[in-house]
């Protein structure tokens, strides 16, 4: 009889070769965990190469999940449990494992050859180097092949199901239900029912192995988290972003037009939106990044909500067209799922180093609105905001997600659709002025006095024919103008329009009200910063925190907030880009940067230490 022990939280990492199906395994374990009502956060980590040489360190792919009976903010600093499918996965991940942690290891892959390939002189399973850990050696492949003896699948296909065996075993260990995964497998292998049944059998065999093998004396339960009432689902940032774009089309009543060129880690948004044609979403996979944004802008001119999605290198290519959109004053939503750069950099690794590019990476004075989601589920809300600003102010809006948010997952409390904002727009349909002769005319650059937005008169509207272009235009008429005073006026007007974009105030979390230090983040650092702040407060430290979702314009109260603190700590996965903006915009502020660019999110521990240091030094 197994003992069941209650835990409040656990961090598990699945690691294997790129071909071992670790991402799928992690996704399914996540779905099971979400179904149980735990709060969770995930961190996939995989090489850019589709299939790096098998069994090598560069080929290791991993998936980490942190789940708990309370709300959590990060995928966890250190895993407590490691599932290692081969020696490379063990070697690449063992140093991250918590001392005393648990290792489930696939012994079948620990051959002399495989060990040598990753530089193990001796078998770590036998040389005592893992004595500090709780090691469960399991012949995963052998057991899986054995379990599938009665199935009409090749030995190779049977062996490939070993990830499901592992999933079944870990699901048993942590008391996760597997029915949804069985349904998932039936759907995934609809065309190959034999394979589906083999995978299901492997999954069940793994579960049963846990239950019967005496090695596993203890299984764990993590009760559901006490989250706010509502209906939840698990969601990744890229999916939430795609759904936010779809919802923006619904909320505005406009057709959505996505122009995109495949690029890691943004391609999933294109894939997801390609499935949403029923919402009137058109996706065009363009010949290049420039055409992608160009087509989106062309569609915007025609009255659609034009959207383009990419990552840093692609955004650089789109820069000229975004400037055109600034000059034309047409709505355009540009999504940058940031990755480690410059150039190809590390495409599957996260970074926040495109902020300054988003702000200034254009020619001429070309301000645009810049927003950044703070978590995977926030991507949904931020897209609605991006659409609101683009449509209201007739401007490009840049959304800065990143690889961590894009691929990470968390539970999302589903919004009530009745609460969807009304993003409907009024197209111009009538002349808006009278000329000297008393005749009604249309002035394409006659602005709304409040928003400074110009009228949006789409082709096909009778009597409002007009020409727009990248050449400077006379305010009002839109005619070509080289007049010096007009140009100065137009540059300042476009700047004033963006500066005047309505955004909500910055909320400050300062429960004691006596903090001297404010930690101010933006984007995906929200989770780790939150966890660090929580840890510090538990230790009795006083610290305030705020998080910028609106980078341009910044909330109106930002200056007032910053003034109240002696020091403002700004953790960023870059070398200090928000810090640069703060120092420029709020010169009196003492900004202390905390910067790392390792392609990985901050751990809450390192942030806790860094913040503590600042507080201590007054």
């Amino acid at each position: 009889m197994n003992t069941v022990r209650q835990l409040d939280r656990v961090v598990i990492r699945f690691a294997g070769d790129s071909g071992d199906g670790m991402q799928l395994t992690g996704d399914r374990f996540t779905a099971e965990t979400a179904k149980l009502g735990n709060d969770l956060s995930t961190l996939p980590n995989y090489p850019a190469e589709i299939r790096a040489p098998a069994g090598t360190l560069p080929g290791v792919s991993s998936f980490q999940i942190h789940f708990a009976d309370t709300d959590i903010l990060t995928p966890g600093d250190q895993p407590e449990v490691l599932i290692a499918m081969n020696p490379a996965a063990l070697k690449a991940n063992i140093r991250d494992l918590k001392p005393g942690g648990t290792i489930v290891v696939n012994t079948d892959e620990f051959t002399k050859r495989n060990l040598t390939k990753v530089g193990y002189d001796d078998n770590p399973l036998e040389d005592g180097s893992l004595d500090d850990y709780q090691v469960y050696p399991v012949a995963l492949a052998t057991l899986t092949i054995g379990a599938l003896a009665e199935h009409e699948v090749s030995k190779k296909d049977a062996e490939r199901s070993k990830n499901m065996f592992a999933l079944g075993l870990v699901s048993w260990m942590y008391s996760r239900p597997t029915e949804a995964t069985e349904d998932f497998l039936r759907g995934k292998f609809k065309a190959k029912p034999v394979i589906a049944e083999a995978n299901i059998a492997a999954l069940r065999a793994g579960w049963n192995y846990g239950e019967t093998a005496e090695a596993f004396a203890v299984r764990f339960e993590i009760p559901p988290a006490k989250l706010a009432a509502g209906t939840y689902r698990n969601i990744t940032g890229n999916t939430a972003l795609a759904w936010g774009i779809t919802a923006s089309g619904v909320a505005s009543g406009l057709p959505v037009f996505l122009g995109a060129y495949p690029i890691t880690p943004a391609s999933d948004i294109l894939h997801e939106l390609s499935k949403h044609k029923r919402f009137g979403v058109t996706t065009v996979q363009a010949e290049d990044e420039i055409a992608a944004v160009g087509a989106a802008l062309g569609a915007s001119w025609g009255g659609a909500l034009g959207v383009t999605t990419s990552s840093g290198p692609g955004i650089a290519l789109k820069s000229e067209t975004i400037s055109l959109a600034v000059s034309l004053e047409l709505p355009l939503v540009v999504v940058d799922v940031q990755r480690a750069g410059p150039s190809t950099g590390m495409p599957t690794k996260t970074e926040q180093a495109d902020l300054v590019m988003a702000m200034f990476g254009r020619h001429g004075e070309a301000p645009i609105a810049v927003l950044a989601p703070q978590s995977p589920s926030d991507c949904f809300d931020i897209m609605l905001e991006a659409a609101r600003i683009a449509l209201t102010y007739r401007t490009p809006v840049m959304v800065l997600s990143d690889g961590y948010i894009a691929n990470g997952a968390e539970p999302w409390k589903l919004p009530e659709l009745a609460d969807l904002p009304d993003l409907s727009v009024e197209f111009a349909t009538e002349p808006n002025a009278v000329d000297a002769k008393g005749e009604e005319i249309f002035l394409p650059f006659q602005r709304d006095p409040v928003t400074l937005a110009r009228p949006w008169a789409v082709p096909g509207t009778p009597g409002l024919q007009h020409r727009i272009g990248g050449i400077e235009k006379a305010d009002g008429t839109g005619d070509i103008s080289y007049d010096p005073i007009n140009h100065d006026h137009m540059v300042r007007t476009r700047a004033a329009k963006i500066a005047g974009v309505e955004v909500p105030d910055l909320e400050v979390d300062d429960p004691q009200g006596d903090a001297n230090v404010l930690v101010l983040g933006w984007g995906s650092t929200w989770g780790p910063i939150g966890a660090a702040v929580r840890a510090l407060r538990e230790k009795g430290a006083s610290i305030a925190r705020a998080h910028l979702r609106y980078l341009n314009p910044m909330p109106r109260n930002t200056a007032r907030v910053l003034e109240q603190y002696d020091k403002v700590v700004v953790p960023e996965m870059n070398l200090g880009q928000l810090a640069l903006l703060l120092r420029g915009n709020f010169p009196g502020t003492e900004v202390v940067g905390y910067n790392k660019v390792r392609g990985l999110p901050f751990t809450s521990n390192e942030l806790t230490d860094a913040l503590e240091e600042v507080i201590k030094n007054g």
Binding site: G37, A229, T231, G298, G460, G470
Partner: protein, 340 residues
């Protein structure tokens, strides 16, 4: 929006398509003649002015939209086909035209041009080829002759030029034609054929730049040489010009003295030949020296258009869908759980 473009437009005149902007090309520029021809042709479309959109890139030719009383967008260098693709895909009710030049379309925008053509987006692309960079004051272009002396090639250009029609045909273009700025009637005829074509129509218009490349096409215009140089393609008719005729030769076509060939050998022009090799061979009759230059419609074949294909998928998927309800189902689909 309705797919049908044709409307019962009131009978418009050329002057109805003139905008209030002052036309600012150099005196003697071939663009004036093209603008006049386009303005006189547009009423034939039978469309209201608001249902016509002109998209251009950068260059002298790209100022074109400013001078037409339609919707127009003067965009950025080389990108007009991309912007026009977005518009044409989302707005089937519009007649979308791209105006471009040899630098704009073939150099900086080459990628967009070839992909628009391969996709067969319903765009009419007018490429004004003057074989020079005009707006930037006289550098050699991708259609300039080798050895050309310009500010950026003082010892002669070592670039090999594109043959724009060969390029278009290699890009799977379904409609390819060539005409001349100075031949109003022919220009008009080619514009009509292009407008009637469903899909991408690529029209190369030889256009004189009096400032930086004057008389580049003189051989096709001078009464003393033009009859020997111009091959006027007419569908269903044997290809003859001056005292010459076109016959098959090896893998392609060849010009021969008419007296040397039998009537049965003379190639009869058919623009609807599916095999692009024929139109390609036609495009190769004229070298950079313009010695035997076919004008007219080289190729006009039917192929499904990209924009319609895209719209059909969206329309089929979206038919009868209540979007708000569908969004609710999307959000609540899959694995969800409820916290009380």
């Amino acid at each position: 929006m309705a797919d049908a473009v044709k409307l019962d437009a009131p009978k418009l005149k050329a002057k109805d398509f003139k905008s209030t902007q002052e036309v600012r090309w150099c005196p003697g520029c071939g663009d004036y003649a093209i603008l006049a021809a386009v303005q006189s042709f547009l009423p034939e479309l039978g469309l209201e002015r608001e249902n016509i959109a002109f998209v251009s890139g950068i260059g002298c030719s790209s100022r074109f939209p400013y001078y037409l009383n339609t919707y127009g967008i003067h965009s950025i260098h080389g990108r007009a086909p991309a912007i026009a693709t977005g518009l044409a895909v989302s707005r089937p009710d519009l007649s979308v035209w791209v105006v471009t030049g040899d630098g704009d379309a073939l150099s900086i925008g080459g990628n967009h041009l070839i992909h628009a053509l391969r996709r067969n987006v319903n765009l009419k692309i007018l490429l004004f080829n003057n074989r020079i960079y005009g707006l930037t004051k006289g550098q050699y272009s991708p259609t300039s002759e080798p050895g050309k002396l310009t500010k950026s090639s003082p010892m002669g250009s070592v670039d090999a030029p594109f043959n724009p029609l060969s390029l278009a045909l290699g890009s799977e273009a379904t409609f390819v034609a060539r005409t001349l700025d100075s031949d109003r009637a022919h220009l008009h005829e080619v514009l009509r054929a292009a407008a009637e074509h469903e899909g991408s129509a690529f029209v190369e218009i030889y256009q004189n730049c009096p400032i930086f490349n004057d008389n580049a096409f003189e051989v096709l215009k001078n009464p003393e040489t033009r009859d020997e140089a111009i091959i006027r393609l007419k569908d269903g008719e044997p290809i003859r010009f001056g005292d010459k005729a076109v016959v098959q030769s090896g893998y392609g076509l060849q010009v021969k003295d008419a007296s040397e060939v039998d009537e049965s050998e003379v190639v009869v022009h058919k623009a609807d030949v599916e095999d692009p090799a024929y139109a390609f061979a036609l495009s190769r009759l004229s070298g950079i020296a313009l010695d035997h230059t076919p004008i007219g419609v080289f190729r006009s074949v039917k192929r499904p258009t990209y924009d319609k294909g895209v719209r059909t998928q969206v329309d089929e998927a979206a038919a009868g869908v209540d979007r708000k309800e569908a969004l609710d189902r999307l959000l609540h689909g899959g694995d969800t759980w409820t916290v009380l």
